[in-house]
Every structure is written in C-alpha cells, then in structure tokens.
Symmetry: C2
Subunit: 430 residues, 2 copies
Amino acid sequence: MALIKKPVTGMKDILPREMEIRDYCISVIKKTYAEFGFESIETPCVESIANLTSKQGGDNEKLIFKILKRGEKLRLDTAESEADLVDSGLRYDLTVPLVRYYSNHQNELAMPFKALQMGNVWRADRPQKGRYRQFMQCDIDIIGEPGNIAEIELILATTTTLGRLGFRGFEIRINERRLLKAMAAYSGFPEDRYSDVFIILDKMDKIGLSGVSDELIESGFTPQMRDRFVELMEGLSGVSGAAEGAGASAGDKLSYLEEKLGSYVEPGVIDSLREIIECVDSTKSADFKMVFDPTIVRGMSYYTGTIFEIAMPELGISCGGGGRYDEMVGKFTGKDVPACGFSIGFERIILILMENGFEIPGSPVKKAYLIEKNMPAARLCEVISEAQKERGEGNQIVITRMAKNKKFQKQQLTEKGYTEIREFYVNPRD
Amino acid sequence: MALIKKPVTGMKDILPREMEIRDYCISVIKKTYAEFGFESIETPCVESIANLTSKQGGDNEKLIFKILKRGEKLRLDTAESEADLVDSGLRYDLTVPLVRYYSNHQNELAMPFKALQMGNVWRADRPQKGRYRQFMQCDIDIIGEPGNIAEIELILATTTTLGRLGFRGFEIRINERRLLKAMAAYSGFPEDRYSDVFIILDKMDKIGLSGVSDELIESGFTPQMRDRFVELMEGLSGVSGAAEGAGASAGDKLSYLEEKLGSYVEPGVIDSLREIIECVDSTKSADFKMVFDPTIVRGMSYYTGTIFEIAMPELGISCGGGGRYDEMVGKFTGKDVPACGFSIGFERIILILMENGFEIPGSPVKKAYLIEKNMPAARLCEVISEAQKERGEGNQIVITRMAKNKKFQKQQLTEKGYTEIREFYVNPRD
C-alpha cells in the first residue's frame, strides 16, 4: 500500500518558502484592490461541462480536466463517447465562471460590479518548465461600466499593486481592437482575414517589421496591401522624427493615426485612448510608463475595445493583460452588458520575486525555544507562558523538544530565519 | 448557447459579503498560526486515484469526484470498469495530501514539521442545507514531535485563533484512545469489538448513559460487561460528589480512572493528559475551558493517542477536532513518524459569524465618487487624483459614473457601506 509520493503529473507541491511569498502577495493584492472598491468573490472550481465547452475558451477547451458522473448517472455499459461519461470539469479560467456568477446573482450585486477573483484554474497542457497544470489566476473585472473610467481604474489598481510588490520601470502597453481594425481597413485587407493579419502583427516584437512584411506576402496578401500597411507602421515609428527605439510620445502617435486613418476609425476611439493614457499618467502611484503600442493584439477573440498588457522590458516578458469585452455577457444572458477586465500573471510574478530573493517587509521576529526532554509540567508551563507573552507581542515563537543532534537542529532553525534560539533545561544552568 | 447560470449541484458561489468575512478569517488564522511557528504549505487539489483509494479515508473514499484520463490514455472501447477510465480525483481531505507531501519533501523540511494547510476539499455527498460538496478545510499538523508539547501547542494555537475571531466560553474536550481501550478492557469487552463499543459510547451526548446501556445489550454484549462499564461511567460522573452536569474537575476524574483502571491503562497516558490540561489552562490566551471527556471517540480509525474536539455548548455543535496519529505516516513510507493534528471547522465558523452579523474590525472608510457623464479629461484627472490620495491613506474609494437613477445608485452604495458619497459635475456647482 505504498503511497505515490509525487504530485500528479504537471502539478506541484508548494514549499513553505514559496508559500510565504504567495501569501504575502495575496494579502497585498486583496488589500490594494479593496482600496479601489473591488469586491472579492469566489466560484466553485468545478463548472458544468456545458459551460466549459461553450466556445468562449478557445483552445483552452481542449485542455479540460473532466469529471466522471457518479452513482446511477454513470452508465458505462451504454456510454458511446466521452460526453456520456462526464457532467462537469475543472475551470480553465476565471472569466467564464465570472460571467456565470454575474448572470446568476446580478440582482444581488451593486452596479457597476467590481469583482476580484483569485483562484486556481486547471489546464491539461503539455508539462514544461515553469508552467503547471494547476495555477493561480488573479482577475479584476468591472461589469456594467461603459466609459473609460473602467480602463483607468483597472490600470491604476493593477499598477498600484505591482508597485507595492516592488516592481519598478515596467510598462503598460495599450491598444484598441477598433484601431487595429481601422489600420487593417485602411491598408485594404479583406475584413474576413483581419484575424490573420493580427496574428502576424502580433509577432512584431519577435520578427520586426521586415518579418511581418514577408509573412503578409507569404499569407497571400497583395503587395499593395502590404505596402500600405508597412508605410503606415513606418510612419508611426518615425513620428516626431525620433530614432527607432527611442519612441515618440503616445499623443504624437495617436495624432498621426488620427490624421492618417481619418474616417476608417470610429469616432471617439482615439480620444478615449488619449484620455486613458493622460489620466493614468497624471494620477498613477507606481513607477511605470503608459505606452501606446499599435502592435498589441491579445489572443482572445472576445475583446471588443481597449486591450492592454503589462510588459517588463528588462525581463523581456509580459506579466498579465486584459481588455474590454462588451459582447460576452450578452452571449450568455441575451443582453449585452459592458465589461472590462485585467489579469495579473500571478505565477510569473511569484517566479520573479523568488528568483530575486524577495524579502517580505515587516516579517515578525522569529525565536525558537528548545526544551530538554522530561521537563516537569510546572516548568514547562512557565516556558510556554513566556512564549505566549512574546506571541501576544507579535513575535513568532516555535517551541520544540531539544533534539539529540542539537547542533544540526539549531543550524536548521537558523536557516529558517530563527534569529534567536533559547535553550530550556530541566535544571536551569546558571 | 445559453449558459447554465447555477453552480454545479451542491457547490456554491460566494457573495462579496461572505467573502469579506472569509478573507478576514483566513488572514487572522494565517497570522496567528504563523506566530506559533506553523508554516503554510499547499498541495494540488488533484491527487492520484491510488492515493485517494488507499483506505485512509474511510467512507470519504466513496465520495470522490474522479477525473477522466486524457488523450490516448483514455480507451473507452476497452474500458471494463470505472477504474480503467480515471487516473486521479479531487482530494476529499487535507491529511492524505499532507502525508504525501511530507514523504516527498522530508529532506527539505525542518523537523518537527509544523504545517498549516488551508484549502478546498470535495465530497460528492448528498446535498443538504449548510453542507456543500466543495468546502474549505483548515488543518494544522505537527509531524515528528512525539511528546505532548505537540498537543499543547496545537490547542493553544487553535484556541488563540478562535479567541481572536471573537469566540468566547467554548470548550476543548479531550480524551485518549488508549484510555478508551483501557476502559473497554476493564469492562471485559472483547478486544475485536472495541470499535463497536466506541461507536455506542460516542452517542452519549444524544442518548445518555441509559441509552448507551440499552444499546450495549442490543449489540450482544453481556450484562456483566455492561454493568461494569456503566458502573465505571457512573462513578466518573459522581466524582467529587458533584451533581450531574456540574462536573468534577478534570484532575479528579483522571485520578478516579487512574485508581480504577490500574494496570489496564498504559503508564504515562493519564499523566500526559493531566499535563496537557494543566499546561493549556495556565498559559491559554483565549476564554475557554479544558474539559476531560471520556466519551469523546472521534470517527477516524487512524488516531492512536490523544483526541480532542472544539465544543460550542451554547450552539450545541462541534467546530473542529483532531488528535494524534503516530502510525499513519509509517503506513505510507514504511517508517513510523509521530504526528498530531487539529482541524478548525472553517465553514461552520463562517456560518456562525455570518448568522451573528459579524463586523470586521478595522475596516477602511468607504467613500464613493460619482462622476457626471462627459467629464473632460483634465477635470477627470483631478477627481481621480483626489481618490488616489485618499487610497494612499488607506481609504476605500470607488469611482463610478453617475447613474440616471442617482437615488437608487446612492441607496445601493449606502447599503454596501459607502458612508460618504461625493458627486462631481462637469461644471462644479457652487
């Protein structure tokens, strides 16, 4: 009856050192988002299989951990396919459960509904370094707010949180789905192939403009379309005469696009982007830069407006993102409700903090009391009493028997951060 | 493509009001247990099916949510039984995962290992009021400590936590498996039927001593055995000449049993119980009573020594419990390691706090800023700036558009605890 010691494939045990950092981050996140009026909610980890396979999850729907029916409902003899065997599964994200939650409870919720959800999700992905099949997601969403106050608040809340976790010099890169469409329309790409264009554009940071240019041709677009698009992008990076990389201000780039795209872009789109960038820049409390980046695409097809990402340029990675999805609630409830969300890449944040040897601020003083074997009750009470007093003052006290190998025991405790180790003997030594 | 709005059968969405209390309790629990040197850990919610069906879980093993194999491993055509279809399941408790975790990581852990685990578990129980199929457990365990410092620390940590959550006048009822066995041996019950005796004894609080007496006969025990047992129990409740219900002191009861049971009870068992009770009583920081209760049995068969329960006499319910299980780790790893744990009934605690209209101490000031539509960017920046300043001071500020039905909006915000509501207009009114 030997136990399998390892966790199941692709999932991990969390050791105390990492857990301490996770707990600290969770508390900072919850506290900060609460200051912005976000309310914590929780949904079950298990969702009905119908909701999980409703085509909102894209490729994630191929990665569901499915749960077997139970009792009489499980009819193995007559089951013809997987679908006959399962009734539910583990959620692959927090957005589908949020929308279900909202539609189930909308009469009990304040409008706009500002939700914070932190919870595990599961994806049966191919296991790889640093990516696990169970991982924590951390989403804030505002449902019922059509104006860009939603975007401004989401960005301010997220960046304030990152700032409090010690992140500096990062960027929030912002774009607009409707602006992407206007650029595609301006260039003459056929509307039914916009998504192919965007997939290529999304590779800009890896393959550069010349790579994008080549792929457009390889994908069967005409040189005319390609040329118009490349010219537009070159124009953008040349705005204000700045050298490549130095970058023009977001405002200049937006003015350039406004002039170039003319009536291809819906009225108000550019003004709204400008307002978000200006408002965040003038009220932010963390050290980061708002960057207008017309090459940001974001994978999920449900986005309808603003899209944004957290970029850590020094690390060359993205640590989260989000956007507006005004048409998703309606697909489920029959009535569109504006919605916008921002998700922090929680596991990535933890990984960065771990790798940088993050020290939790304000950690309590840690002391260990080693107690000799056979300590009489009365004396033991005295020692515990003293520990209780120290705990009341907020110190962390571990009381433990003195081990035979006391040297090793003390070494272990020191490594664990116990800065003071006291020894208590049956007969106190003077 | 309508979404199923309800959560899956037997599981629940957690609304903001409950979530706030849960988050608060979690933070108090984590902080308090940390002061006692318990380290947070986490294990995956999914465990391999072999571990979940290893006979450590008793009846819970019948209630597992099982997870379907994926990809090529799922062979529906050749599957003959459920076992062929599944490779894992959702954990039904935190003890089996803890033991797996300990055996997987023992070289990386300090000894004794003091673990805190808070996490969801799943049981496909018949749905009933107040009991859900997904619920949070909150366990502390000390692995590697053979002495009763473990029990003392577990009880002090748990009761300090309950005290900080506002609980008063509760009881920790304590007993010993080896004392139960000695009482059964003394009465002449055959050893292979001890567990039947204990199941009957466990009903004492419901059916009283006469009910227990009747059931012993109905279960086929001889009147001699019954009489000796009933006499022992009557003697116990008569100790110190106290009237029934008034109760004798734990010390007197233990002395009575010590004299009566003589060599039936292992040496040291009674002394150790006495020491735990005395030490906790003289060092506790919460308002509760240590009660020696020889009728406490606790269901799980893996307990080997001390067993204890949290009783809330006013509510007539138990809110958690635990005990020593020195032989469980060995069953999995081949080498016995002493272990002792205490679990708080987290969901029950939350239910009590909710029903009592619990107010979270130290909640931030909550203010709402209502912003008129079409506020120009510059003015919006000013307003947000002000909110950011207040947030920096720890206040909770929600910024939202002014609704058409402003009266209803303000009423909703007031109900949510927003004590100050400020209105901002495009043209400030004097």
